[in-house]
C-alpha cells in the first residue's frame, strides 16, 4: 500500500479542470465547490473529542462556561446538534500560541451544550463576540450566528454588525451572565428565532 505523501501518478497531481485529461476517473466533476450535506443523527461518532468543549483550561484567567440549549420550531430540544465556536483571545488576537480559540460540543439528550472559554477582546472595533456554527440532523448546511455579551452594552451599541440586525431581534445574539457563567440559547425556528448570518 502507498502512503499519502508518496508521489502520485500525473493525473492525480492536477486535474483541476476535470474533463478531458487522460487518466481522470470518470464521472467525478471537480468544476466547483462541493455541496454541503447534513451531519445526520450520528454526528457524535465523528465530530466529538474529549477536549472539544475546553477552549481554555479550568484555571485559565477569566475561564467561564458558555452554555445553552438548542430548540426547534416546535420548541422541542435538538439532541443531535453540534455547536462550534471560533474566537479571538482576551486581547482580540487570533492564533496566539497556546490559545486554540476553537470549541465544539455536541448537544446532549436535552439539547444542551457547554463550552469553557474566555471572553474575547474586541477585534477591528467590533464588540467582543464569538463566531458560532450550528450543525444538526435536519440542517442541510450549517447555520452561522454570533455570541455577543449582554454585559457589554456600550461596545454592543457601537458594533457595526449588531447595527444591521433589527432592534427587536438583537437580544437573540446576547449571552446573559448568570451564576453559572454565560447563557446563550439557540432557537432554530419560530418565535424568537435566533439571528443567523450569511457569510
Amino acid at each position: 500500500m502507498t502512503d499519502c505523501t508518496e508521489p502520485r501518478p500525473a493525473q492525480a497531481a492536477d486535474h483541476r479542470d476535470g474533463e478531458g485529461q487522460e487518466g481522470m476517473p470518470i464521472g467525478h466533476s471537480s468544476a466547483g465547490p462541493t455541496p454541503s450535506q447534513t451531519v445526520g443523527p450520528y454526528l457524535s461518532i465523528g465530530l466529538t473529542w474529549a477536549e472539544g468543549p475546553y477552549v481554555v483550561a479550568a484555571d485559565a484567567p477569566g475561564a467561564v462556561w458558555l452554555r445553552g440549549e438548542i430548540r426547534d420550531g416546535a420548541g422541542e430540544p435538538v439532541p443531535d446538534a453540534l455547536v462550534e465556536t471560533w474566537q479571538a483571545d482576551p486581547e482580540g488576537r487570533f492564533h496566539t500560541p497556546g490559545f486554540r480559540g476553537f470549541g465544539r460540543c455536541a448537544t446532549d439528550d436535552d439539547g444542551r451544550w457547554a463550552i469553557r472559554t474566555v471572553k474575547p477582546g474586541p477585534v477591528e472595533g467590533q464588540a467582543p463576540h464569538l463566531a458560532v456554527s450550528v450543525f444538526a440532523r435536519g440542517l442541510l448546511h450549517r447555520v452561522v450566528t454570533r455570541v455577543y455579551f449582554a454585559d457589554e452594552p456600550q461596545a454592543n451599541d457601537a458594533d457595526k454588525v449588531l447595527a444591521t440586525v433589527p432592534q427587536q431581534r438583537r437580544h437573540t445574539l446576547l449571552a446573559e451572565h448568570d451564576d453559572q457563567g454565560y447563557r446563550f440559547d439557540i432557537r432554530l425556528q419560530g418565535d424568537d428565532e435566533t439571528v443567523f448570518f450569511e457569510l
Binding site: 505523501t5 465547490p33 447534513t38 426547534d72 480559540g101 463576540h129 457595526k160
Partner: protein, 226 residues
C-alpha cells in the same frame, strides 16, 4: 437566480428540515478577521492509525476494504494543506456504532466508523476503510440512504468550514434520496466519488477518489501550489 451548489435549508422532502430550518432570511455578514481566520488544529486530535478504519489493533473489520483519497482545494483551486479531515460512517452492514441506531443489522466489534487525518502539502488525504452499507431510515415508506461517508473539513478560515457526504458511483438509491437530491441538480455529481484504478491496490483494496472544493475566502497567505 442562484448559483450556490449548497442545498436550501428548507427541503421538505427531507422531513427533519421542516421544523429545523430557520425561516427568517439570514443577515449578510461582512467578513472581518474572525471570519477570514479559522482554527489551526494541527495534529492534536489525530492519533497514529486514525486514517485506517479497517483495522482495530490487529483485527480486521468485516466488509470490502476500500481506499478513499482525494485533494482538498479552495475555490481558487489552491491546495488546502495541513488541515484536519474527519470522517465517520456506518459499517459494511449499514449500522452505525451509536445508541440511537436501531437498524436490525449486525454491529462489527472491530469497526468504530470514525477516522481522522491531515491533508499533506498538496492538500491530499487518504483513508483506508470498508465500504459502508446502505441503511433504512424513517423519512418516508421504505426509505434507504445510499451508502455514504460523512466528511468534515475546516479549510483555512471560518468561511470555509464544510460538512458533507461522499457517495459511491452509480448508486440506484440516488433517485429516491431526499438528502442527495436536496442539492441543486448541477452540483450533485460533486458528491459522488469516482472509482480510481490508479489508487486500487492489487489483491488488497479498491480505490475511490473524492476531491473536495471549499467555498469561501480566507486571509491566510497562500502557499504556491506545488
Amino acid at each position: 437566480m442562484t448559483t450556490s451548489p449548497h442545498p436550501p435549508l428548507l427541503s421538505p422532502g427531507y422531513k427533519s428540515t421542516v421544523l429545523r430550518a430557520p425561516r427568517q432570511q439570514p443577515i449578510l455578514l461582512p467578513h472581518s478577521l474572525g471570519e477570514l481566520t479559522g482554527p489551526v488544529l494541527g495534529e492534536g486530535p489525530v492519533v497514529a492509525g486514525d486514517a485506517d478504519l479497517s483495522v482495530d489493533g490487529t483485527a480486521e473489520a468485516q466488509g470490502q476494504r476500500i481506499i478513499v483519497h482525494g485533494q482538498v482545494r479552495d475555490a481558487a483551486g489552491r491546495p488546502v494543506a495541513d488541515q484536519l479531515v474527519e470522517v465517520w460512517q456506518a459499517n459494511a452492514a449499514g449500522r452505525y456504532l451509536h445508541k440511537w441506531d436501531r437498524h436490525d443489522a449486525p454491529l462489527d466489534p472491530h469497526f468504530a466508523g470514525v477516522g481522522r487525518t491531515m491533508t499533506d502539502a498538496q492538500g491530499r488525504y487518504r483513508f483506508v476503510t470498508v465500504r459502508p452499507g446502505a441503511y433504512p431510515w424513517g423519512n418516508h415508506p421504505n426509505a434507504w440512504r445510499p451508502a455514504h461517508i460523512h466528511f468534515s473539513l475546516f479549510g483555512r478560515a471560518f468561511t470555509q468550514r464544510l460538512v458533507t457526504q461522499m457517495y459511491f458511483p452509480d448508486d440506484p438509491l440516488f433517485a429516491y434520496d431526499p438528502i442527495y437530491n436536496s442539492v441543486p441538480e448541477f452540483a450533485r455529481d460533486r458528491l459522488v466519488s469516482a472509482f480510481d484504478l490508479s489508487a486500487t491496490v492489487e489483491s488488497w483494496a479498491l480505490g475511490f477518489r473524492f476531491d473536495i472544493v471549499l467555498s469561501g475566502d480566507s486571509a491566510t497567505p497562500m502557499e504556491t501550489p506545488a
